[in-house]
């Protein structure tokens, strides 16, 4: 199966740790949210400093590691939330 192309965004402390806010990823398909996180942690120079199981959003909604990915999805790696 073709690779799944997704945009991955990082925020706040995770953007500082990774040194990047926006990354294009090509994940071997079929792919899940968890596959993309694992790839991101391997590809980024400081990726290993990100947690293995962070909060993740897919297309602007909270997601689970097993959720499937589709071409064009927007993933976001979310540091511990602090709203309110």
């Amino acid at each position: 199966m073709h690779a799944v192309r997704v945009r991955c965004r990082l925020f706040a402390r995770y953007a500082e740790v990774a040194g990047v806010e926006d990354v294009e990823l090509e994940v071997p398909g079929p792919a899940t949210v968890g596959d993309a996180v694992a790839l991101l942690r391997r590809q980024l120079p400081s990726g290993h400093l990100l947690p293995a199981r962070p909060l993740v959003a897919r297309n602007r909604a909270h997601a689970l590691p097993g959720d499937p990915l589709a071409d064009g999805d927007e993933l976001a790696i979310l540091p511990p939330l602090a709203g309110g």
Partner: protein, 152 residues
Amino acid sequence: MSYIVQDPIDLGRLAARVAAPDRGAISTFLGTVRAGPDDGPVVRIEYSAYESMLEDEFARIVAETEERWPGVAVAAVHRLGAVPLGEASIGIAVGAARRVAALDACRHVIEEAKRRLPVWKREVLADGSARWRDNAGGREPAAPPPGRGPVA
């Protein structure tokens, strides 16, 4: 209507948005920037967000609340950018026919907002230093919660 503001929150305006002749109760909530006894000399908090998701997630919380308490109307905003000590970072107004629904629904909105909104805060101290802070009380470096994240 956007759920994001950059300027001070006008609670009266939020309350006016949920007022109606058949609503006899308006419950409001303001969350303000504080410096607790263990927090050190915090002078302001800088809020940032995944703004497009914040809009979507806040809309989902409001829709769920209005579905769970029929007849209730919710108006809410989160402030982003630098918020000085004592000023509000979030404002919520809930209008309902009677007080119990207004109070319960308002509590629900703030609890879900704290649990689900993709917002981060950086405390700036009197000496100019800054640190990330999360809702679990964690300070930099804060570990994320284990396992699964919140699901809408």
